[in-house]
Symmetry: C2
């Protein structure tokens, strides 16, 4: 497995090493103390949304399930842990047969969340649950940040097509996960072929300025592209003079030209001029795609412009100002004693500096008002009040170590659209504000 010489982007064959060292040292100490097998409940939640955001979007759940299923220790990983003296041999023996055998419930992917929402609940022995902390948080914190930005952009785009184009602005594999999260949040396609390969997301892309510059003239470049890709292609028209490029483009491709792309300048102004010019040239069905450092505000500001599609890069894959969420993975209850029947007790760290946790195994429900619009995120321990039973948010994801909730990516995408649609109207405001639902603890 030591493929360092090959230089492949990853030579970690399982997800077991996407883990902070302290998970393993805690395991070793707990195994020795005899406390490692106490029944335990860990929950993922966030104490606050990113500043000014109205709602969060759960994304990455499907990837979490994959990560849990593949969290195992083959000989090479065990050898590494031994050579580096990370844990003792008793712990290595225990790890060699590791398979998560507990239960996971959580908000289904695409669902929205609020401060305190128990987004994921992992139950089993302390030993088997504690090890999963880092990889679960990595996935949910990253993917949910991207999905939240995507969701805001989808609102701003108001039904126009959104293309994810951010691969070059983030880690090459984070980019693949970002495409996936963007799709859940409402994007339609991606430029990233690895995302198409891995997740089946529709891919798009035609040409860059380099293609025009390669040729002796813009005319040569457009002709080469149309000859090869057909009249339905998208020609990039801002390498030199936009008006001249549009004229040349329609001359070469005819009014069947698929689209033109504008990547610089005052997009609002240029889009209007290009639309007018295309219409005058008879290319009434030629679409206009704009790209160039767009974010949800720029997209919203183009609502009145004759734009058909937005390509979004940097601001999408960096979460539009919030590249991560602040989700944490906390022990909220554990058995006092080692037996399977030892009663669960709620536990929580002392609150200092806002790092408060609410102990106890939780349920959550979204309470609708008389019109069916959500009015509160209700989180509690103990029995669920009768009126809320049908509005519970957590679903079963893993039962006794078996994944029970795999789903194609269109399902969380549609789920997100529905969940966002059931929020109060203020959820669609891009301006900074408070979460649109209060979290009530009962």
């Amino acid at each position: 497995m030591n493929t360092a010489d090959l230089g492949l982007p990853v030579d970690v064959p399982s997800t077991a090493l996407f883990t902070d060292q302290y998970e393993f040292t805690m395991l070793q100490a707990a195994l020795r103390a005899g406390t490692a097998h106490r029944r335990s409940v860990f929950e993922v939640f966030t104490r606050r949304l990113p500043e000014g955001r109205r709602y969060g979007v759960v994304a990455g759940t499907g990837r979490v399930l994959d990560a849990v299923a593949n969290f195992r220790f083959d000989a090479d990983v065990i050898a590494f842990l031994r050579e580096q003296d990370i844990v003792d041999s008793a712990t290595l023996d225990w790890l060699a047969s590791y398979r998560f055998s507990g239960d996971i419930q959580g908000y289904p992917e695409g669902e929205v969340y609020f401060p305190g929402s128990p987004i994921l609940r992992v139950e089993g022995t302390f030993a088997e649950c504690v090890l999963l902390e880092t990889v679960i948080l990595s996935i949910l914190n990253h993917d949910s940040a991207i999905a939240a930005a995507a969701s805001r952009m989808a609102t701003a785009a108001g039904g126009r097509k959104l293309i994810e184009m951010g691969a070059r602005r983030t880690h090459e594999l984070a980019a693949v996960a970002a495409s996936r999260a963007a799709y859940v949040g409402g994007f339609d396609s991606t430029s990233d072929l690895a995302a198409g390969f891995r997740y089946g997301i529709p891919t798009v892309g035609t040409s860059a300025h380099a293609f025009t510059l390669l040729h002796d003239s813009e005319r040569d470049a457009f002709r080469a592209q149309v000859d090869s890709l057909g009249r339905g292609t998208t020609l990039l028209v801002d390498t030199y003079d936009v008006a001249e490029a549009v004229r040349t483009a329609v001359e070469i491709a005819g009014p069947e030209l698929g689209a033109v792309r504008i990547d610089s300048g005052d997009l609002l102004l240029v889009a209007h001029r290009v639309r007018q010019q295309l219409d005058e040239l008879g290319a009434r069905h030629t679409r206009i795609t704009v790209t160039s450092d767009l974010d949800e505000y720029a997209i919203a500001s183009l609502a009145a412009a004759p734009v058909d599609a937005y390509g979004v890069g940097t601001q999408l894959v960096t979460g539009s100002g919030h590249p991560t969420c602040s989700m944490v993975y906390k022990l909220v209850a554990r058995a006092r004693g080692e037996g399977p029947d030892a009663p669960l007790e709620p536990v929580a760290k002392k609150s200092v500096g806002g790092k408060a946790s609410v102990g106890g195994r939780k349920w959550a429900a979204r309470r609708p008002d008389a019109e069916g619009v959500a009015e509160a995120e209700v989180v509690g321990t103990g029995p669920v009040p009768d009126g809320l039973v049908h509005h519970q948010l957590l679903v079963e994801l893993v039962r006794g170590g078996e994944i029970v909730a795999r789903e194609p990516l269109d399902v969380p995408r549609e789920r997100h659209r529905a969940a966002r649609g059931a929020l109060p109207m203020s959820a669609t405001q891009l301006s900074r504000g408070e979460p649109v639902l209060p979290t009530e603890y009962v």
Copy 2:
């Protein structure tokens, strides 16, 4: 290769699909037009530093070399491109035997850079060079953003130990690259075992609040940890009452206790109190590690506190406000004509809205003043002035497709320390300002 069912984090066996679709459609059109084999020069540069930053840090170069070496198209990738109808069969035939055979020069990893610095220069045919755009930018934009944040934190830490702890706040594989970039930027160790496994970075970690909460008392938890990990371990002392925890910790481990970790509260105040308490208890050599949403400013504000090590997470792996760089990959020159002797001509997109490029194949040198302190980044085309010949920045990385500049990770780490040390004093100011060196074009 379709391991989707296994759910491994990556099932892309080469780096060839970390690529925007338009690279392939440009390739197809250029192959058909007969222009694909024109000799071409692409350069990576950035038009500006992130707002307020004084210098940039080149990181990821080693990963770029790996990515170039592994950029190839096996049968599964070709089958995907065919099934999805991304390119025609002539292009697929060309791709099947793809190996980069050109030359790459660039700023060596760890070097600092400024607006306009030609950070990487890729030369070969248009076809072989254009395909590398996305993966090269992904790596450099991500890794350099992390390294720049790490470098500022290293300056702020003033020689105290820095531990990278951000895995849970970013994509699980971006985290591995982030550990690597942080190490180049000046960090000493990481909590991320995958980074230790892949890059040999020293790993550290002991325990979390969950470990204390698992046990019936803090005393039980500390005893379990010390029994298992020895007196030299680091005990986390802020789960309940810090003063009581410190007393218990020294009682159990004795004055040989390795360290205590504080993860909440007013770190300046708490560190002073804990130091005093430890000293009074005779634990004069017990170190203090602080963690809790640190960034370079928080680290600097603790300069007068008795702190021995800083653990940094979120702000490090998200680039401390700048999670990506704005590096671009632009065609700056290409042959007019197809033969190997066709003369190179500079090319550049028309400047609109700040998207200016300077055409032509470039050199770069850092001009020192009489005291040897850098005073300007000089970038030019054509012959290098005599006085600058010995201060040139680009080094050979790939020659005729062969990597010629692999180096162990300590080399760019030390290179960065030296390069930062040769900058004007204002480079170490954390406050916002202009780049510490002007870029002069000659």
